[in-house]
């Protein structure tokens, strides 16, 4: 790949068809590596609090694929038609200043996920070193912090090569992640099948339908969090057809499949972290293998996340000219700070973070789907995406589209009514319809109504 192409990949500018060479297989590998991380064990763990293995697997997988469908419909068509990332693809809906909302959501979301990953990584290293007798339990906190710092440095060095580095490292990590993931699942299901069958979910509510829907909800919101990631990668594909199956199978399916490991582990062994239970099951040798998996999986996802953040930040005026290494640091320094100062606080509030994802990304996806498919006839004004002045296609009112803001607010209120993100207290009809799906529906319908009644009649938004 030439330096010129590499520079464009780091610029946030649209990729033309001449730049977009990734095949279905290349995209599948990159997306799979991006999706497969140890957060899957935490997701599986949360579902295992409410459901047994069969129901948990069904709810998690179904929810994940529904969430992936929403993200794919929202981002893939525009990203692959015009070679743009998730942020640029949302500019027609949010406005040529309103995209700051999506940049903020992307930034917070990816930093949150990366913090979780790298803290998980640090904890695994600490656990393994303690298991090997290299360190003591007293030094675990220090080991977590040092490991997080080393992981950040590795991500930084790989990403200096932009998408090329991402694609190259993905080829290597792919075999570790798939191979060891399958092996761990087999190990758990064969050695612990009796314990899994007899296990009772620790926090089951007593209402099986509520528990089942909560499993689906966790699956949906987990996959909605791919919105910030997916655009930066699928834009390397020449068309939507090349990206469809890689998105659904490469990014959607690995999460529930790997979450099965966490689900089975929490049911059988009451711990989801493989570097802990594999030592318990087979001694330190298995623990080392699990650690290799944790390193490979987490680094791959963290690299993809920071790359996507970098492309998103390029859309911010003033950042478009910053050197690429500075952009990467902007995505990494907050992760490093979380890992250094508040690793336990962050790690212990994962459920709230997941709900935060659903609150914002469900209406966001719906708004994009409604706008692109029903209001714009699957076309956007690519010039308008990059124009920042008044009177340009996506200037709306002061650069913000009120339809998108009202859609987001309505979705936010709907989610809060249906499911409290902090306490998980719910209201009817949550136990029938989840919280994310009605949130998406309300957000999309409000966007549609405001656009038809206000925005389009006012001649704003480049609608025809």
């Amino acid at each position: 790949m030439s330096n010129g192409t590499q520079g464009v990949e780091q610029s946030g500018w649209p990729l033309t068809t001449h730049d977009r060479h990734w095949t279905q297989w290349q995209l599948f590998v990159v997306l799979l590596v991006a999706a497969s991380a140890t957060w899957c064990y935490v997701i599986g763990e949360y579902i295992g609090y409410y459901l047994n293995l069969r129901m948990g697997f069904a709810a998690m997988t179904a929810g994940s694929m529904i969430g992936m469908l929403l993200v794919t419909l929202a981002v893939v068509p525009a990203a692959t038609r015009y070679g743009v990332d998730s942020i640029a693809s949302a500019t027609p809906q949010f406005g040529n200043r309103g995209w700051i909302i999506t940049v903020f959501l992307q930034y917070v979301s990816i930093i949150g996920w990366n913090s979780l990953l790298l803290i998980f990584f640090g904890k695994s290293v600490a656990q393994l070193l303690a298991g090997l007798g290299v360190t003591t339990a007293d030094s675990a906190d220090t080991v977590v912090r040092v490991s997080t710092a080393l992981a950040c440095i590795t991500v930084f060095l790989v990403l200096l090569r932009g998408a090329t580095g991402l694609e190259q490292i993905s080829k290597v990590l792919f075999f570790f992640i798939v191979g060891i993931g399958v092996w761990m699942t087999w190990l758990l299901l064969t050695q612990q099948s009796d314990a899994i069958a007899a296990a009772k979910p620790a926090y089951a509510s007593g209402n099986l339908q509520w528990d089942y829907v909560t499993g689906i909800e966790i699956g949906i919101v987990s996959l909605l969090s791919w919105w910030p990631y997916i655009g930066a990668m699928v834009r390397e594909a020449p068309n939507a057809h090349t990206a469809t199956l890689p998105a659904m199978l490469g990014m959607g399916l690995p999460v529930p499949l790997l979450s099965l490991v966490g689900l089975a582990a929490i049911l059988a062994l009451q711990v989801s972290d493989p570097s802990a239970w594999m030592i318990q099951l087979g001694g330190t040798r298995y623990g080392i293998i699990a650690l290799i998996f944790v390193i490979a999986a987490n680094l791959g996802t963290a690299i993809a996340g920071v790359y996507a953040t970098g492309i998103g930040l390029r859309q911010v005026p003033g950042m478009s000219k910053l050197p690429w290494n500075v952009i990467i640091l902007l995505g990494l320094v907050p992760v490093f700070a979380v890992g250094l100062f508040i690793p336990d606080v962050f790690f212990n509030n994962f459920g709230t973070f997941l709900a935060f994802i659903g609150v914002f990304f469900a209406p966001l996806c719906a708004i994009q789907i409604v706008d692109y498919f029903f209001l714009r006839g699957q076309r956007i004004n690519i010039r308008g995406v990059y124009q920042r002045d008044e009177g340009t296609p996506y200037a709306y009112w002061g650069g913000f589209n009120p339809a998108a803001i009202l859609g987001m607010v309505a979705g936010f209120a709907t989610y809060l009514y249906l499911l409290n993100p902090v306490t998980y207290a719910s209201h009817w009809p949550y136990e029938y319809v989840t919280a994310s799906l009605p949130t998406a529906l309300v957000g999309g319908v409000v966007y549609l109504i405001v656009t038809l009644l206000v925005v389009r009649p006012a001649g704003k938004g480049d609608y025809r």
Partner: protein, 53 residues
């Protein structure tokens, strides 16, 4: 309509992408089949299977 000009390279890219022939194609009917199968029908069947346990 445009008050400020773009970087020449960005301008070249935008001009190229404004031509429909240079844009990536949308979903094909086969893609829609897979999207519905994997995102709607498959999840519905899985949920039914899980609820039977």
């Amino acid at each position: 309509m445009v008050a400020r000009s773009f970087d020449p390279e960005l301008e070249r890219r935008i001009a190229e992408l404004e031509n429909d022939a240079n844009q990536g194609a949308g979903f094909t009917p086969i893609d829609w089949f897979w999207l519905i199968a994997l995102g709607v029908v498959g999840p519905a069947l899985l949920l039914y299977w899980g609820w039977q346990s």
